[in-house]
Amino acid sequence: MRRFLLKRLLSAIVTLWLLATIVFLIVNVLPGDVGRQILGPFATQESVAAYNERLGTDRPLWQQYLTSMRRLFTFDFGDSYATSSPVNDIIFPALGRSAKLAVLALIITIPISILAGIIAARRQDKFTDRAIVTAGLATSSIPEFVSAAVLMSIFCVHWKIGKVFANPPEGTSLLGQFPYLIMPALAMAVTYFGYLARMTRAGVITAQNADYARTATMKGLSRRAVMRRHVLRNALAPTITVISVQIGYLMGGIIGVEKVFNYSGLGSTMIMAVGSKDIPVLQGAVLLVGVIYMVSTLLADLLIAYLNPRVRLEGV
């Protein structure tokens, strides 16, 4: 178990380092003068040069790379180009707000999609199954900002349920924030329903046709017991993996949803950083999402190992 854990941790660190390098390369090596990009085409060459010097973007690349790696390991991304305040003071509070939205979306989507996946698997190839699979396919292919806009038109404007502006007023209690957050969370939940339901369905179908499930049925266990003790335990491993991967991807989809609902989370921070070409903020936010992804996949691996002794003993 310890070897398994260590191996996973090591590979997560290597991946994170590569990720940081990729982000560095995108920002620095691709052609494009940072100062010119920020100041625009009408700035004089001198002011662009001065700006690059102030940002440190005129130094040799290897020096910039070392700085950027040091920043990754100390998790200090320097100051924002746009506001001059430390990047961390911008991205962490924003992450907190986005996390609330993401957690609510997961709370809605995980039980519903797992249940739908199990029902579809039990009714394999019947009408219910087809309906769930097709609905899942449709909802998971629509971009989050599209479902957000459609949900907003229907619920917030037509039926007047939920708020058009998702930012709750200062000092609202956690429970009081619910009506503000529910619609954007629902827009995200809709997209992830499809993936999770399909994954659960596939896992359950494989597991219920497996020899161990047949043996359990033959030895006289009830359908319910076979399902709970044998099928679900095995079937949920791919679902857990997908959930953990989705937690990273939630942070991609959240950008559009936050924009539609004018919610000031990490997504809106990134859009603003895009608008003002604020590369340190963008870099910090992107790496933060990478770290979240690493941690959540690591946790998923542990959970799967806990559920399935074969994995933890073989140390795949």
């Binding site: 290597v14 991946t15 994170l16 590569l18 990720l19 390098t21 990729i22 982000v23 995108i26 920002v27 691709l30 052609p31 494009g32 940072v34 990009q37 097709t134 396919l137 449709a138 292919s141 629509i142 971009p143 989050e144 900002f145 599209v146 806009a149 459609v150 907003m152 038109s153 917030c156 404007v157 037509h158 058009v164 502006f165 990273g248 991807y249 942070m251 991609g252 989809g253 950008i255 559009g256 924009k259 539609v260 990134m270 859009i271 950083a273 895009v274 608008g275 070409k277 590369i279 963008l282 870099q283 936010a285 992107v286 999402v289 990478g290 992804y293 690493m294």
Partner: protein
């Protein structure tokens, strides 16, 4: 497939697992032709699936819109002489937007950009991904080890985030959007192709080709490639769907192809602030257009996938 391919200078008489080489060569050639028949049968099954037909129909509707464009649109998509924010009516079936332009005409015109850039990005990413995945899966060893880590790192982040980052540094022209999306799809396609190639590379037809003395590139692209076309086609269709998804999200976020191209994502971005005032049509119709196109592409991808997985 010519069974009478030139034999290598000194043909080994047995393979690694001790079977006579001639037997493996014959078995391999037979296997190759059986697989060709199976591929033809699969294609016939795919064409008969209702979800495939519906998907193709919707995509064709948008292709017609993209090709005919202004000849199909009732108004000029850039003409702002109508009243602003007119609700849907006989004259303006989808209403008018905040500058008085016809929403229907803009939705029709918006098909053109997305149908050019999205498939192009998916195909470009697909080609690079196939080459990369083929090298990783067939050559393997240390090259695979290193490339796999890099691919994993790319996959650790939502495509959208890296695309935003890249477009901020490069500026947003249609070419940049195309290139960035293609580059970010490459590792994803490569991972699929690698897995498929690894399942094939020890089969008889590959050993047979090796014994006949074929070059690595011949084996990779003439022998293995046709047999892994299934997963590649599925991945490509799925990627086209994601390309529409990603590009429309990018243009919604203001990092897509620049105006005045009447892109669907940009139209949603112009309209969504008016939803609260009850003006839903400027957002709803372009949003529905995006939804219909991605769903259609995914219906096609899904029917291809279910037939290939069943076989």
């Amino acid at each position: 497939m010519e069974p009478a391919a030139p034999a290598p200078a000194s043909p080994p008489s047995t393979t690694d697992d001790g079977r006579p080489a001639v037997e493996v060569i014959v078995a391999g050639v037979q296997q190759a032709s059986e697989r060709k028949l199976a591929r033809r049968e699969n294609w016939r099954l795919i064409r008969r699936r209702p979800s495939f037909i519906i998907g193709v129909f919707i995509v064709l509707v948008w292709v017609v819109c993209a090709v005919l464009g202004s000849r199909l649109a009732p108004h000029d998509p850039l003409d702002f002489r109508a009243k602003v924010h007119l609700p849907p009516s006989a004259d303006f079936p989808f209403g008018t937007d905040k500058t008085g332009r016809d929403v229907l005409s803009r939705v029709i015109a918006g098909a053109r950009d997305v149908l050019k850039i999205a498939p192009a990005a998916a195909f470009l990413g697909g080609i690079f991904g196939v080459v990369l995945g083929m090298l990783m899966g067939y050559i393997g060893k240390r090259l695979d080890l290193v490339l796999s880590r890099i691919v994993e790192a790319f996959i650790a982040l939502p495509v959208l985030l890296l695309a935003l980052l890249a477009i901020v540094t490069l500026g947003n022209s249609a070419w940049v959007v195309l290139g960035v999306v293609a580059a970010l799809f490459t590792p994803i396609v490569a991972r699929t192709v690698r897995a498929a190639v690894m399942a094939e590379r020890d089969l008889d037809y590959v050993t047979s080709a090796k014994l006949r003395g074929e070059s690595s590139s011949f084996i990779m692209f003439r022998e293995i490639l046709p047999n892994v076309m299934g997963p590649i086609i599925v991945e490509l269709t799925v990627r086209i769907g994601y390309a529409v998804f990603t590009i429309s999200t990018l243009s919604f976020l203001g990092a897509g192809p620049p105006p005045p191209s009447p892109d669907w994502g940009a139209q949603v971005s112009e309209g969504y602030n008016s939803i609260a005032a009850g003006i839903w049509w400027t957002t709803f119709f372009p949003a529905a257009a995006i939804a219909s196109l991605v769903i259609a592409v995914n219906l096609i991808a899904d029917s291809v996938q279910s037939v290939l997985e069943a076989s």
